[in-house]
């Protein structure tokens, strides 16, 4: 399917990807400054997927993501200051700082994490879609996961349940080739995720996850099919993680040459070059986008720096709805 995007739309897609990229780069810096601790998984290289897919969702649709979810949170329109404050563990964070990098939530945006057990969110996405079906709401539940998740039983159980019950789920596999340091060819007998999904009778296809327009077009078609009652769909996006799995990763499992090749094929590099060559964006416009993002990021960092921590006296809050004696 061809999609028709205005110049403003094209600028917005680039801005959205750049905003995620710069946010992640800032997070990496803040990590080395020990402002951010714990595990930090960067989305650098995979921005086209969150941007392309979330673009076609409505505000009534739901999102379940993984521990590599900063990009999805920003693309969904969560307050960038609250997301940064969450990295800092501050009370002004999107989860009061209790979740951190891996557990960003915003119920008002129907953004359900930030789930750090591989494949753990797939059954929940199935259940959310079941709730919509039972309550007669025409909504899509999107569920992002990496290709590592397809080795888990929960992936297969969820494929089966979603097709069996004809549930409105858009499964989005971000296939970056490596489950931490284990490449797909060293862990899977059938390497095509789309093929696995098809074996459950699920409509599925594989696209270039480095091409934001291709992702958006495919996600748009699939969402439309779901809304028309055609059942769950799986979109496999071929991508590459340009940084390590987390900040602790020494990347012994892949060569610098391989990483370099992918750097040249990154979603922003390609899209920006195409926009420039096609005359859709000028250097000045590009510089202005970068300036605005930098300014927004600076404000987010200042907000996070100044935000308070929760009181230790409140430690045991939010375990139950009503605090127990």
């Amino acid at each position: 399917m061809k999609i028709h995007l205005s110049k403003a739309d094209l600028h917005q897609r680039l801005r959205s990807m750049l905003r995620i990229r710069r946010f992640e780069e800032r997070c990496a810096e803040l990590y080395t400054q020990e402002k951010i601790r714990g595990f930090l998984h960067l989305y650098i290289g995979e921005e086209a997927i969150a941007v392309g897919v979330i673009e076609v969702l409505t505000e009534d649709d739901a999102i379940f993501a993984t521990y590599r979810e900063h990009g999805h949170a920003l693309a969904r329109g969560l307050d960038i200051r609250a997301v940064m404050a969450e990295m800092y563990g501050k009370q002004s964070g999107s989860s009061l700082g209790r979740g951190g990098s891996m557990h960003i939530f915003d119920r008002s945006k129907r953004f359900y994490g930030g789930n750090a057990i591989v494949a753990g969110a797939l059954p929940m996405a199935v259940g959310m879609a079941l709730a919509d079906q039972l309550q007669g709401r025409n909504r899509v539940t999107s569920c992002f996961f990496g290709e590592g998740a397809v080795a888990e039983g929960e992936f297969h159980e969820s494929m089966n349940l979603a097709v069996l019950w004809e549930l409105p789920v858009l499964f989005v596999c971000e296939n970056n080739g490596y489950a931490m340091g284990t490449s797909l060819d060293r862990s899977e007998s059938e390497m095509s995720v789309a093929t696995k999904a098809a074996s459950y009778g699920m409509a599925s296809r594989s696209v270039d996850g480095m091409n934001v327009i291709e992702v958006e077009a495919a996600a748009g078609e699939m969402c439309q099919a779901i809304r028309q009652g055609q059942g769950p769909q799986l979109l496999e996006c071929q991508t590459y993680r340009l940084r390590g799995h987390s900040m602790f990763d020494t990347q012994l499992y892949r060569s610098q040459e391989e990483v370099q090749q992918w750097l040249d094929k990154g979603p922003i590099v390609l899209f920006r070059a195409w926009l420039q060559q096609s005359g859709y964006i000028t250097d000045d416009e590009l510089a202005q986008i970068e300036r605005e993002i930098e300014e927004e990021l600076q404000q987010a960092v200042e907000f996070a720096e100044q935000a308070p921590f929760e009181r230790i006296e409140d430690l045991c809050h939010h375990v139950y709805a009503a605090e127990l004696r």
């Binding site: 739901a62 789930n115 057990i117 753990g120 539940t141 349940l161 709805a321």
Partner: protein, 327 residues
């Protein structure tokens, strides 16, 4: 007063919940066309249809997780997991998701769901269908754990669990399903989350829950004939523990025996013992005594199964021990 079975009591509780609230649905392996592994849900499919009495594939993690997602989406699921042993396949969803979502989202996301599962031994089902792992769940902040031991609790606890905004795990001991007892009307002060004194006594506190309550009551009855006043406390709610009721009883009788079908090591009985030692030690006149399962997977032959699990004679011996009786 009507007499009904424990099984029927749970069925009526589920029926009432399904009738009262459209958000409620029952989901699990063989709950529909088969009528439930223990025949609890027999007949409900015909009344409510496949949408609300939903058979699932044998995908414990999948359908338990789906229940959690449905609860997040505004439903009030009752998810039946055939036995606690099978629930281990869904432990990830219950412990990593249901129990944590409210906290790790900073209070934004609640999971109002009820998990029902059978537990316990006594039917010669051997080492993969007979265990008592209630304390695995009672260990985890974020969930609540109930163990109805009476027909009354089987009938009325479910409504409290469904009304609760947090995940509740209900354990149904397999030896209770055929118990027939009087069903009283719902008391105005009924509270599923509190311990209850089932039999008052002055000499020793005997704590039990689920399938072992009746063994405890039997032991108390036998000792009453010898002039020993045993106060039997039905724990009912395994998390959060009703420490107030427990401590009050122990401080009154100054002696305590705890019956728990779990393995002794790391059991709920261990936790209770620790709490009594921490908070009631100076009130005690005798060592705390536990009657638990032996440290062995539950065996198949009846005589070994009985030897592995708490029995009335052993409970009586434990009470005599803390009373200093040597007869």
């Amino acid at each position: 007063m009507d007499k009904i079975s424990y099984r029927e009591a749970i069925r009526e509780a589920i029926r009432e919940a399904l009738e009262a609230d459209e958000r409620v649905f029952l989901m699990g392996e063989d709950v529909g066309h088969y009528g439930g592994c223990y025949a609890v849900s027999k007949g409900l499919l015909g009344q409510f249809g496949e949408q609300r009495v939903r058979d699932t594939p044998l995908s414990e993690s999948g359908f338990v997780g789906a229940g959690i997602g449905a609860a997040m989406g505004g439903m009030r699921p009752i998810v039946e997991v055939m036995t606690v042993n099978f629930s281990l396949l869904a432990l990830d969803q219950i412990v990593n998701n249901a129990a944590t979502l409210r906290h790790m989202s900073g209070g934004q996301i609640g999971v109002p769901i009820v998990f029902r599962m059978a537990s316990g031994s006594g039917k010669q089902l051997a080492a993969q269908h007979s265990h008592s792992l209630e304390n695995w769940y009672a260990h985890v902040p974020g969930i609540k754990v109930l163990a109805p031991a009476t027909v009354e609790d089987a009938r009325y606890m479910l409504a409290d669990a469904i009304d609760d905004p947090d995940p509740v795990v209900i354990f149904e001991h397999v030896m209770l399903y055929n118990n027939v007892e009087d069903l009283p009307p719902l008391r105005s002060d009924f509270d599923a989350f509190k311990a209850v004194i089932r039999r008052p006594g002055k000499d020793v506190t005997l704590i039990a829950y689920g399938g072992n309550l009746h063994k405890a009551l039997s032991a108390a009855e036998q000792l009453a004939g010898k002039g020993v006043g045993v106060e039997v406390v039905d724990l009912r709610c395994l998390r959060p523990l009703d420490s107030e009721t427990l401590f009050a009883s122990v401080r009154k009788t100054r002696r305590v025996v705890i019956v728990d079908e779990a393995w002794r090591t790391g059991s709920l009985a261990s936790e209770l013992s620790a709490q009594f030692a921490e908070y009631c030690l100076w009130d005690l006149d005798a060592p705390i005594k536990r009657v638990c399962s032996k440290e062995v997977p539950i065996p198949y032959p009846a005589h070994l199964e009985q030897a592995a699990t708490p029995q009335v004679e052993e409970i009586i011996a434990a009470i005599n021990y803390v009373l200093g009786n040597t007869y």
